[in-house]
């Protein structure tokens, strides 16, 4: 306990250094701003800004990236509520009640309560992180190569099995990511692998080129296909602070969702989306008015956003202590540390206490800054939504190109980024997840290193993975998830009629509510949309 408090004290001394405070402020502001851009989620945001952190010191770089991450979570809720344009999957759940509330003229309180919920959820998660991380890092120090291999493989497979959609395609995507990571020199023999005679490829494929390509350029290509959003026509949101009734209705939802989000966030693959869905579902059960869910339930909205932010903060736990990123965003932050020659893992707390404790302490600071930014300054952010996507897209492309170039002063990397952008667009079109790809790319070298070492240690016997307690426990967990996934998918297949009936019942409610048009509310005029502010898949009219 004393060690933890001493560590936190050291962390605050790092986080309160003026330049680090500035990096946190820049991170959360930029994160909120870019999270605002519909269709551009936290992964794309981090990917685009990853190169900018290359010239910073490691602690400042990760503080800024972490700030961008949870800042974009805050920012992402704004277009989700006002325009029904979620920046990422977890914000989709925010649209369910956020958009109906905006339609009812309650956009302000909806934004206010989600800011407060996000702050409280984030704070609960950071407190949990502060006290659990050192303990877990201590345990993880006894982890050997076979354990690390199973841990990393399990992290990757959990993301595959916990994601929605085709597991086969997710595995293929992850395998492709691992294969791309093998391009370059063999780590043991230094033989060039999969370079096809290219001198540039012997240096390997840059994480920045892959990340910016897949998530930045690929996203712009996908948005170009669907048509850019047109911008918010009017941005009056009225009173932001929630009423006493709103607070009383949501306070328990916020508390429950903070805890749900924290625990789901630390599970590999469990990040924002699952925590948002689980918290929403749980709150629907707890709510006294479950029939309001999907039609503007303030407690449902608060639960979603609270869990989302709580999980985004707690997801740093496996990265900082085990060196295993639990989701694509953390994989990119893992990549940022690698760019600074720091390998995250159990040794981080001892070898780089500035990074370990500094990042944790900066989260407290960043969370407070975000609350300030998102309550009094929310109107300013909302006004920025008036900028059409057509103006943002070329600027983002230019930043992406210059950012990739800046890391190694290499136009070849820019070419690779454009190629990976096209690859990302194609993968999305054919419904292959990009998350498993980037995680495969990041975890690939780690997997290979520990696999080869384990095989040498065991003289080629796979029993090495079955005779140690940590891999056994992890594999049992993975098996349980696989069985649950298969059983769940069978259950869904066997009960389509009931599910469809329930969904139809809810959808009718939402459609009826939306069709009734904007109704002026007591606390502000309803927010209006611009000409084409739609994201594919978020609007039934998309198919029209």
């Amino acid at each position: 306990m004393t060690d933890i408090l001493a560590g936190l004290g050291h962390g605050f001394s790092v986080a309160f250094q003026p330049e680090n405070l500035l990096f946190v402020l820049i991170g959360v502001t930029v994160g909120t701003l870019i999270g605002l851009i519909p269709g551009l989620g936290p992964v794309a945001t981090i990917a685009l800004l990853l190169p900018l952190t290359f010239s910073l010191d490691p602690a400042g770089a990760v503080m800024m990236l972490a700030g961008i991450y949870y800042g974009s979570m805050y920012g992402g809720r704004i277009p989700a509520i006002l325009l029904r344009l979620p920046g990422d999957a977890s914000a989709v759940v925010t649209t369910f009640d956020g958009y109906p509330l905006a339609q009812q003229g309650r956009a302000g309180p909806a934004l206010g309560i989600t800011a407060i919920g996000s702050f409280l959820g984030g704070t609960v998660a950071i407190i949990g992180l502060s006290f659990l991380a050192p303990t877990l890092a201590g345990v993880a120090k006894s982890v050997g190569s076979p354990d690390m291999f199973v841990l990393a493989a399990m992290g990757l497979l959990m993301i595959v099995f916990l994601g929605s959609g085709s597991k086969v395609k997710a595995i293929v995507s992850a395998a492709l990511g691992v294969i791309v990571a093998t391009v370059g020199l063999d780590p043991t023999t230094a033989d060039p692998r999969l370079t096809y005679g290219s001198f540039e490829l012997t240096a390997g494929v840059s994480i920045v080129a892959v990340a910016v390509g897949l998530f930045g350029i690929g996203e712009i290509l996908y948005n170009a296909q669907q048509g850019f959003y047109g911008g918010l026509a009017r941005s009056a949101i009225g009173r932001v602070l929630p009423t006493r009734a709103d607070w009383l209705m949501t306070r328990m939802a916020i508390l429950r969702s903070s805890i749900i989000g924290f625990f789901i966030g630390i599970i590999p693959g469990g990040g924002g989306t699952i925590s948002a869905v689980v918290a929403y579902g749980a709150e629907r059960r707890f709510s006294r008015h479950p029939e309001k869910f999907g039609k503007g339930a303030m407690d449902g909205l608060a639960a979603t956003e609270t869990a989302d932010n709580s999980s985004s903060n707690s997801s740093f736990l496996p990265l900082l202590t085990l060196g295993v990123p639990p989701n694509p965003v953390l994989a990119l932050i893992f990549g940022a540390l690698l760019l600074h020659n720091i390998t995250p893992g159990p040794q981080l707390i001892d070898e780089y206490p500035d990074v370990f404790w500094g990042v944790i302490a900066s989260m407290y600071v960043g969370n407070i800054l975000l609350l300030i930014l998102n309550l009094p300054l929310i109107g300013l952010f909302v006004r920025l939504l008036r900028i059409p996507g057509g103006i943002m897209a070329p600027i983002i492309l230019m930043v992406a190109v210059a950012g990739v170039y800046s890391v190694r002063n290499s136009m070849f990397d820019v070419l690779l980024a454009v190629i990976f952008g096209i690859v990302g667009y194609v993968l999305r079109t054919f419904n292959f997840g990009l998350g498993p790809f980037v995680l495969g790319f990041i975890l690939g070298p780690l997997l290979e290193e520990h696999f080869r070492r384990s095989m040498v240690l065991s003289d080629g016997s796979f029993m090495i993975f079955l005779t140690r307690p940590i891999p056994l426990v992890l594999m049992s967990l993975l098996l349980a998830v696989i069985i649950w996934t298969v059983a769940d998918s069978r259950r869904k297949n066997m009960r389509p009629t009931i599910d469809q009936f329930r969904e139809a019942e809810r959808a009718e409610g939402v459609v009826a509510e939306s069709d009734s048009g904007a109704r002026p509310g007591s606390e502000g005029e309803p927010v209006e949309e611009g000409d084409t502010p739609r994201h594919p898949g978020t609007d039934p009219r998309h198919d029209a």
Partner: protein, 168 residues
């Protein structure tokens, strides 16, 4: 059209999440995806052949080719499963593809053009094409974006961050 798509309206959560996570919508109208297995088979081949040439070694003493080989075999193993499940996909129409090409094409050309024209010189035409013909902004706005965006990015990266970029 809205009424002709009841299945998509009835499953908002699943559909929306799928759209973000790049997952199949099995009930979505569209052709069966035969492309993926074919392309994956070709990709696996271009990995397996050099991996074998590099040397697989043995399990006890893995060679440099073993790891890419194993992962490529994982892709190969997935191909029959993809064929069996007959996933459908939503192919973009011609105008959608044109918009994508109008972004990707100029970007690809930007790379060789940079050596001749620098960041602003090569970036401005790309921005102009994207703003005018893809985002359909007015000419005036498009020209402003084409001039200001590369110049601002140059100022940020070259002047503020000290990146070695040529303006022209």
């Amino acid at each position: 059209m809205r009424n002709s798509q009841p299945a998509r309206e009835q499953e908002p959560l699943r559909e929306h999440l799928d759209d973000f996570e790049g997952t199949p919508q099995l009930d979505e109208p569209g052709p069966v995806d035969w492309w993926s297995p074919v392309v994956l088979a070709a990709l696996a081949a271009v990995v397996i052949i050099p991996a074998v040439q590099l040397g697989l070694g043995s399990i006890a003493r893995p060679g440099p080719g073993l790891w890419p080989f194993l992962n490529a075999m994982l892709v190969v193993a997935a191909i029959p499963l993809l064929l069996a499940t007959r996933h459908r996909f939503h192919p973009p129409n011609r105008s959608e593809l044109t918009r994508v090409a109008l972004v990707a094409g100029p970007l690809l050309l930007f790379v060789p053009a940079y050596d001749w024209l620098g960041l602003i010189g090569a970036g401005a035409p790309v921005m102009l094409i994207v703003a005018r013909f893809v985002a359909r902004m007015r000419w005036r706005t498009s020209i402003l974006i084409a001039v200001i965006a590369p110049a601002a990015v140059y100022a940020l990266f070259a002047l503020a961050l000290g990146v070695n970029l040529r303006p022209f």
